[in-house]
Amino acid sequence: MGRYILNRVLSGLITLFLFLTLLFFLANLLIPGDFVTSLGPMPADAAAALREELGLNRPLYQQYFDWLGSLVTLDMGESFGQGPVWETITFAMAPTLVVLTIGLMVAFVLGGWLGRNAGYRKSSFFTGSMTFIAIVCLTLFPPALAIALEQGILRNSGWSALGQMAELDIDTWATSPLSPNQVLWRIFFVFVASALFLWLTEGLVWKFTRRRMPGWIFLIAMVAVPLLIWSRMGIADQVLDVAAAMSLLIVAVVILTFGEVLLVTKASMDDVMLEDYVMVARAKGMPESQVRDHHAARTALLPVLSRFTVAIPYFLTGLVILEVAFGGGGNLDIAGVTMRFHPPVGLGSLLFESLSNQDNPLLVGALLIVGVLTLLVRIVLDVVHAALDPRIRFSGEANGD
């Protein structure tokens, strides 16, 4: 297993290097003009002086090597408008990571559970309606979903603090020792750590008692453990406030992604149910729920994981689109309904802001983080896959797909 992980990480590093190269040349060659031209017409000598100052007049290969060298120390250079790129990006990354992790986990659990049941009960009303709902959710046009959610909820509930960081409760934060961004990072790390901890606990319980923890204990623990840690850290109020601000985005991500999980789980469940060992388990007289959850569903999970590894970049794109759709600038009063647009907070908003400003260092930095996130998630999923499926571990193929 250690060898497999090592192989996978090394191969990931090579991929990363090639990706960086591709990204740099794409951003500098493909998109016409540079930051200076995006400022509008100006005298030639002023433009030349500005290029000199920003280092844009050097040969491209020299800019490339300088950039690679400075990347090693996490120095992505200066953005043209917003200070150091690395700081801007880490700031924008926190909300995106929180939304992506929580959203995908919920989508995975929900879609997996529904898909398992839909695949298990062949041709029933439940299966049909689930398939229909999944297809509808999967093909929703993300910006329209964002507007519908925002309008629908703002109109009907009077909660205005949904989906925007600008709407955080001032009283909660006035006395807080941490900034919203720091709280977001803590949310992320605590959540991931609790998930890992619970996963290990489940493994240990299985090892010593040969019993599987029921799913609902897992679910409750997944909510209770992080909450407990946050309140021990003394940031429970802030966490709830930020979570409320992010909730609309999380709901949108779940709606857009759970359908895909549902359909893939259902299809793979259909197949696994025909396997001989499922028939054997039934013939032994095992309860149906046990056959479904322990014999069929565990194997049916594998294709879902492999599907996920390929689909992660697309989920991330969906999130980026959503962020932009929820984003914008200023307040807009339309027919008595105030549509509030928060200032750019997530990676997606940052990406599009830097695109419209032709801020190449920031654009490349943001794309780079999208790529690195994808790569990381992919490696993690591959390792999980290998842990679940010995065939991959022993095939010696570092390039799991």
Binding site: F19, I135, T139, F141, A144, P303, V310, L316, T317, R378
Partner: protein
């Protein structure tokens, strides 16, 4: 082997495809949109031609005229209007006057099935006109991505070794730059001049074909190459090119069709979003319609829900049609084939299923 080749032929596949009700509905939806492409020029030349061109998707104008009373505070929004709003239409209006105001966007009615947008243009006609650019994007993306992915996967499976490693490295790298995101950024960077619907689809096809689609097809090609009939062909003297063309390619086609259809969905959503952000020069595509509706609603003070619902609904339905058809094609690719290969152990089948 001869029997197997015949079994995956078009006859059985069609039957498998149409035995899946979801696939049939999807196919129907695609046909509906194809019909829209055909019917729009026909309508423009016949039914919709003699009416002062109110149905033209770009320059048409028609807005219902309402007589309303100008009052200080509005108690009945249907027959009354406040002074500030009245002065948008008639600068001389004062309290107590009865003025005519034009309603745009107008709600759905008999003359305008989906209503009109903020400029008084017929939304139904715009939706019909948007079908063709969307097909251009979707179909060019689908064909190119399938072609690229098939070439990648067959080269990987035939040459193995270095070629395989190099090609899958290319796929791994491109996967980090998701095709929809890359296209939206490209559209923003080139501000729409380069990216006509056709170019958009072609570029998307290359990006998606070399990454996601190639990864999916590669594992299928590698599994196919391990099967006994390839060995048999090799023993009887078949060379690499012959093997690839006659034995591998027919087995790749069903799965290639599945990935083809999925890239339609990705490309159409990406194109819609790029147009939504006004990153396209096109005036008649569904994303651009919504962009105009929402962008100008700020000026007009009315939110054009009918345009948003019609545009987003058209994109979603279009994608749903192709997605549902892809489920049927998946049956052809996996289950249809499985019936003939029932002697193979389950884990081999599942390995092939790993898409």
């Amino acid at each position: 082997m001869a029997t197997r080749e015949r079994d995956v032929g078009p006859d059985g596949s069609l039957k498998t495809f149409f035995s899946n009700p979801i696939a049939v509905i999807g196919f129907g939806i695609i046909l509906l949109f194809a019909l829209m492409v055909v019917i729009h020029p026909l309508l423009m030349n016949t039914l919709w031609s003699g009416q002062g061109d109110i149905y033209d998707p770009v320059t048409g104008y028609d807005a219902p005229v309402l007589e309303v009373e100008v009052v200080r505070t509005v108690s009945d929004p249907v027959t009354q209007v406040d002074v500030a709003t009245a002065r948008i239409s008639d600068i001389t209006a004062g309290v107590g006057d009865v003025i005519e105001i034009t309603v745009q966007p107008a709600p759905p009615s008999g003359t305008h099935w989906f209503g009109t947008d903020v400029f008084g243009r017929d939304v139904f006609s715009m939706i019909l006109a948007g079908a063709w650019p969307t097909f251009m994007v979707g179909l060019s993306a689908a064909l190119v991505s399938a072609a690229v992915a098939v070439v990648f996967s067959i080269s990987s499976a035939t040459f193995r070794g270095r070629v395989d490693r190099a090609l899958s490295r290319v796929s791994d790298v491109l996967l980090l730059l998701p095709a929809p995101l890359a296209m939206i950024i490209l559209a923003g960077g080139t501000t729409g001049e380069f990216l006509t619907p056709l170019n958009f689809g072609l570029t998307y096809g290359v990006l998606a074909g070399a990454s996601t689609a190639a990864i999916v097809l590669r594992s299928h090609a590698l599994a196919t190459v391990e099967r006994p009939f390839i060995d048999a062909a090799r023993v009887s003297g078949a060379g690499g090119w012959y093997l690839a063309r006659r034995h591998l390619l027919p087995h790749m086609i069903p799965l290639a069709a599945v990935t083809m259809v999925s890239s339609v969905v990705g490309a159409v959503v990406a194109h819609g979003f790029a147009s939504w952000l006004a990153y396209s020069d096109d005036l008649t595509n569904w994303g651009a319609i919504m962009f105009v509706a929402i962008g100008f609603s700020e000026l007009q003070g009315v939110f054009a829900w009918n345009v948003l619902i019609a545009g987003a609904g058209a994109i979603s339905l279009f994608c749903a049609g192709f997605y549902m058809a892809s489920l049927g094609l998946k049956d052809v690719a996996y289950r249809g084939g499985d019936q003939q290969r029932s002697t193979r152990p389950g884990w081999v089948r599942r390995l092939e299923m790993r898409t």
